[in-house]
């Protein structure tokens, strides 16, 4: 266990150094004059054109699969699309439902290459459980309970994520079957039309299958477990902040709630006062002089 922990710390430090040396390692830096370019636009352009780069890579792969007589085997094509779709699904889930920052950092250190996979998260949960089991002899139950609760939340999230991913995989499989059928009906001979047909077929299948109760339940499941985990994590941090004598977000929120209640009261009194003034003006105007 100690060795695992030391190994983790070492990896963490390495990651930290890398991060400080290069804030966005996967993004090519563009040479530009300082202050002239809007960084938000810079980032937007990168995201907009990234898809084209994927397309080019994908096209190159397809051409390599080409048997030499300008024909692609459908099965090879399907495997390539299947791979692409699986990767996209993992990306959606990874970016759409992120872990709380500190947990994410721990996962990235623990499994830098495979952090997005279900196996990595499961393995981290197991490691956490082993750690808690070890600490259970020395840590007070009041301190242990919230940590155990967090681990349970993390496990629920992992389960919900697996269920949702399996829904996406079912949709992808149906989309590929439909795509294969449409290719038989509509022969295409260029990459762009092929890609267009694929997107269109996938969208159609997705619209149909995402309407099912299974899908919406799986979507609700991943959203709710991700939020519950984040919520409990924040509660745990709040307890630590409070223990250190710092103001917590909960305390700040309580003050905000009071402020809003007072603001509503002021608005109500202002209205009453305006109504009374109007009534008084009206009375003055109609009284005999």
């Amino acid at each position: 266990m100690t060795e695992d922990f030391l190994h983790m710390m070492r990896q963490w430090l390495e990651q930290l150094e890398q991060h400080q040396g290069n804030a966005k390692p996967d993004k090519p830096r563009q040479p530009h004059s300082p202050g002239a370019i809007n960084p938000v636009l810079d980032d937007l352009l990168f995201r907009l054109t990234r898809q084209s780069e994927h397309f080019c890579r994908f096209g190159e792969q397809l051409l390599q699969l080409d048997s030499g007589n300008a024909e692609l085997e459908i099965d090879h094509l399907m495997t390539a699309y299947q791979h692409h779709l699986d990767q996209l699904s993992l990306d959606w889930v990874w970016h759409g439902w992120t872990l709380p920052e500190q947990l994410l950092a721990a996962l990235l250190v623990y499994a830098p290459e495979t952090a997005g996979s279900a196996t990595a998260l499961r393995s981290l949960i197991e490691l956490g459980q082993r750690l808690l089991d070890t600490l259970s002899d020395t840590l007070a139950p009041a301190r242990l309970a919230p940590l155990q609760q967090l681990l349970t939340r993390l496990a629920s999230f992992e389960q919900a994520r697996t269920t949702y991913l399996s829904q996406l995989q079912q949709i992808n499989a149906s989309a590929l079957t439909a795509f294969k059928a449409r290719l038989a009906e509509l022969p295409v001979n260029d990459l762009e039309s092929l890609h267009g047909l694929w997107v269109e077929t996938h969208q159609q299948t997705f619209s149909e299958q995402s309407a099912t109760d299974e899908y919406t339940r799986a979507l609700g499941g991943i959203c709710n477990t991700a939020m519950q985990l984040r919520h409990d994590w924040q509660q745990w941090l709040d307890r630590m902040y409070a223990g250190a004598g710092l103001v917590t977000l909960t305390q700040y929120d309580e003050l905000s709630a009071e402020h809003h209640a007072l603001r509503r009261r002021v608005r109500l009194l202002e209205r009453r006062m305006a109504a009374l003034t109007t009534a008084a003006d009206h009375k003055d105007a109609h009284e005999p002089r």
């Binding site: 352009l45 907009l48 898809q51 084209s52 397309f55 459908i74 996209l88 260029d190 997107v199």
Partner: protein, 353 residues
């Protein structure tokens, strides 16, 4: 069929063209896009909310000003994206004085802002200020998307303040059978969202909207981005994309109440009515004349959702107009910009004081 016959030369050409276009798309000029808004003045500010005034550009003017109530989702500048693509500029050219509410970005302390706060306080303050500034006793109110629902509620609760009401791409009937957004979100615990995040983060909401058409909005749309970025239309394309990403956080309590009332309870369609601003209101009791505008290609707020108003408002001064356009196309598309401002002005003119 076991094979797809690809033309390798053509495939190579398509790959190379895309590579060249991607290079030119990343050129410096594309990274210096500027918004050129129509001239306007800030006439009122309360917290982060601002009320902007756009003066009519013609001599012949409508007496009653038009107050635009935009949704709390996304930013209102889509209505004035550039001089070429500005719904507001076209309305000004029709002789309409326009007031626009910019709700701003809620801070953490705004998480307790309720729907009543938005209607009874924020929107009401804007109506009051627009009336005072224009020296009129009423406004014409135009609500966009979710802003349309807010405008309907306001017109029910404060009928004496609204001369005419216009709803643009506004959901009335949110039955999950045809309203996908409601169907997709029905198992999501909005109370938990409020407790967890306070205000719902804008980027998270954007991710959720992408869920409606995941592959179309990522691989499909962005795959053609290179062509838009290397042509004459590049600036407009980038402004649009920038706007799409620019989603403010949503005040937690107001969002939770909105989803419960107008999605889960489908309150606007409830013949028994719904409670807002301390009173029960029924859509059928709406007093101001209503012009209801929608897009036949709208996938976010589908036509069935919008046209449901027709049944409920039978016998009232109710006008409906559809254009062949999508949700955003109705706000910013060429066809909408050509047709809607003139239609709105003509409809208002015969109902002006």
């Amino acid at each position: 069929m076991n094979h797809v016959k690809l033309d390798p030369a053509r495939a190579r050409q398509q790959i190379d063209r895309r590579r060249n276009n991607a290079d030119s798309a990343n050129c410096e000029s594309n990274r210096r896009v500027h918004h050129r808004h129509s001239p306007h003045t800030l006439i009122f500010q309360s917290g982060r909310m601002r009320l902007l005034h756009f003066n009519a550009t013609t001599r012949r003017r409508l007496h009653t000003p038009l107050l635009i109530c935009y949704a709390l989702v996304n930013r209102p500048y889509i209505l004035d994206l550039s001089r070429q693509r500005s719904m507001i500029a076209r309305l000004q050219d029709q002789g309409i004085d326009v007031y626009l509410i910019d709700w701003g970005t809620p801070q953490r302390s705004d998480r307790y802002l309720s729907l009543d706060d938005y209607l009874d306080e924020k929107l009401d303050l804007c109506v009051e200020q627009a009336c005072r500034h224009s020296q009129r006793s009423k406004v014409n109110l135009m609500g966009v998307c979710q802003g349309g629902v807010l405008s309907l509620c306001y017109s029910l609760a404060f009928a004496h303040r609204v001369r005419n009401l216009i709803t643009l791409v506004t959901p009335f009937d949110t039955d999950p059978h045809h309203f996908r957004l409601n169907r997709l979100s029905r198992h999501i615990d909005t109370g938990l969202a409020q407790t967890t995040y306070g205000n719902l983060p804008g980027p998270l909401l954007n991710e959720f909207f992408t869920q409606l058409q995941p592959l179309q909005l990522t691989a499909g749309k962005r795959l053609s981005a290179h062509a838009h970025l290397s042509g004459d239309n590049a600036e407009h394309f980038l402004l649009m994309e920038q706007w799409l990403q620019d989603c403010p956080d949503l005040a937690g309590t107001a969002l939770e109440e909105f989803v419960q009332l107008f999605f889960r309870d489908n309150a606007l369609m409830d013949p028994q009515g719904f409670s807002i601003c301390g009173q029960t209101h029924r859509l059928a009791a709406l007093q101001p004349p209503l012009l209801n505008l929608y897009g036949t290609e709208d996938t976010l707020v589908p036509p069935q959702s919008t046209t449901a108003a027709r049944q409920l408002l039978q016998g009232k001064d109710y006008t409906e107009l559809a254009l062949k356009a999508g949700h955003i196309g109705m706000l910013n598309g060429r066809r909408a910009l050509e047709e809607l401002p003139a239609t709105i002005a003509a409809w208002l003119r015969v109902r002006d004081e």
